[in-house]
């Protein structure tokens, strides 16, 4: 973005705030906080404190170790396999749009994967469901290829918009798999009913498959049909794991610590409730 673009962005933000404040300021005075969301606010505040606390801790200490995640350890193998076989790698972020956190996480993983792919000059095919995701994916891959010193290997024609129809998208991706026979399929993002159709088609062509999504229902399908599946927070931790960025690793440690606290509270709540003390359960239920 050049200077003109930057100025345009700033003007847009200004126009946004002026437009809504002018219409809303005259409205009647109401509450400043919704008390029904108190529990959620406390949870978010604790997460923020822990995440930033661990980021500061990592900044001081230098590095942190997180547990091994087989699905991410296999990323090198997946890229190497495609290179040895001389076949492409297929990446799909599913049906998610850019505003979804899972799609953001998917793009973050794509950046790291594209760097590995660029080193081996392996074709990377990315059919997209959303035009905005297409543009972001093109930019992410282009930058990754440039960062590794292989800008000439970037092929924008391999990252394209397919359709906004759910099963039209499945038909297109299945067709690509059957025609191009990719050695590796990466299904990382938001998936719905199409997850099993994609994963089973990939399985039928013998591709090594790594999947990750934020949908618990689709995770079970991926676990059955894929070689590796990123479960739960593993999917969101992937970018930190692959880049080894200490700041991201610190935030992962923070969320892990909060998970531990939640586990302890659940255990305590279970024991107290069994003994007939419902105080903790009632408190958390508010």
């Amino acid at each position: 973005m050049n200077l003109k673009g930057n100025i345009r962005s700033l003007i847009s933000i200004f126009v946004f705030f002026v437009s809504f404040s002018s219409t809303a300021l005259a409205a009647e005075e109401v509450r400043w906080f919704d008390p029904q969301k108190t529990g959620l606010l406390i949870g978010i505040l604790i997460t923020i404190i822990l995440v930033f606390g661990f980021i500061l801790y990592v900044k001081k200490k230098g590095s942190l170790k997180i547990r091994s995640i087989p699905g991410l350890e296999a990323m090198d193998e997946a890229v190497g396999r495609a290179t040895e076989m001389g076949k492409p790698i297929l990446f799909s972020s599913g049906l998610g749009k850019m505003e979804r956190v899972a799609t953001m996480a998917s793009m973050n993983i794509l950046g790291s994967v594209a760097e590995k792919i660029a080193e081996y000059n392996t074709p990377l095919i990315i059919p997209n469901y959303d035009p905005m995701v297409t543009t972001v994916a093109q930019e992410v891959v282009k930058e990754s290829f440039a960062r590794t010193g292989h800008p000439e290997s970037f092929k924008p024609e391999n990252i394209y918009f397919v359709t906004q129809s759910q099963f039209g998208y499945v038909a297109a991706v299945d067709g690509i798999m059957l025609r191009e026979k990719p050695a590796t399929n990466l299904f990382l993002g938001t998936f719905e009913a199409e997850s099993l159709i994609l994963a089973e088609t990939g399985n039928s062509i013998g591709a090594l498959q790594i999947a990750g999504t934020d949908s618990t229902i689709q995770l079970s399908f991926f676990i059955v049909a894929c070689d590796y599946t990123l479960i739960g927070e593993e999917f969101f931790a992937a970018s930190g794991y692959l880049t080894k960025d200490p700041m991201i690793l610190g935030s992962i440690k923070g969320q892990d610590f909060f998970k531990l606290i939640i586990g302890v509270i659940i255990l305590a709540g279970g024991i107290l409730s069994t003994l007939g003390y419902g105080y903790l359960i009632n408190l958390l239920g508010k």
Binding site: M1, I13, V51, S144, T216
Partner: protein
């Protein structure tokens, strides 16, 4: 500047969206509505870019007679025909556009969706093979759930549907909630990283 401005935009809107969720003031509700309207406008332009890239990609492959170019021709013909029909007679009831949609597009989508039944069968066959203790437990739980959800299960014993419900509500729910807690925390942490600019790969910058 090229890196900072998008990060500032992301930070401002990220904090705004977080605050508006908790503050039920009209100023924030209106602002949220404005953001949603903006997203619609941006999406329309993005869709135009998508359609254009779709056209260019397929035209290029057809003109170069690349491998399987006939499929590109079919895709492009479909797009052109629908645009033509839409402009020619509109998209109201009894229009050719809607006829093509109802009689071609919908059945094709249903066909793709119905493939799921066969894929579930093949995946279940692979997943339920009792190769080890865990797979055997999965097989037993699966059989119990299948029996508990059909009339023959109730006929065999009234305990079978109860056991199936217990499997769903206790061990399965416990596992699912564990994963959901991880996903929730992961989503919050990822959002925070994006809002404060620690994670900026989506901008094309590592």
């Amino acid at each position: 500047m090229r890196r900072q401005i998008p990060i500032v935009v992301c930070f401002v809107f990220g904090i705004f969206m977080l605050v508006q969720f908790f503050v039920p003031q009209p100023i924030f509700t209106q602002g949220y509505q404005n953001v949603l309207d903006w997203m619609q406008i941006i999406f329309v332009f993005a869709l135009l870019v998508g359609a254009l890239s779709f056209l260019i990609l397929h035209l290029e492959k057809i003109s170069k007679r690349q491998k399987d170019w006939i499929y590109n021709f079919v895709a492009l013909s479909g797009l052109t025909a629908m645009v033509f029909l839409g402009f020619w007679k509109g998209i109201q009831k009894d229009s050719p556009f809607l006829w093509v949609f109802d009689n071609l597009q919908v059945p094709m989508q249903s066909t793709m969706f119905s493939l799921l039944a066969f894929f579930v069968a093949s995946a279940a066959y692979r997943g339920f093979r009792a190769r080890n203790l865990e797979a055997a437990v999965l097989l037993l739980a699966g059989l119990l759930l299948i029996l508990g959800r059909v009339p023959i299960g109730e006929m065999l014993s009234s305990k079978i549907p109860e056991a199936a419900t217990w499997v769903l509500n206790v061990p399965s729910m416990a596992a699912r909630r564990g994963i959901l807690i991880g996903i929730g925390l992961g989503s919050i942490a990822t959002s925070l990283r994006i809002i404060v600019g620690i994670e900026r790969t989506y901008l094309g910058k590592g």
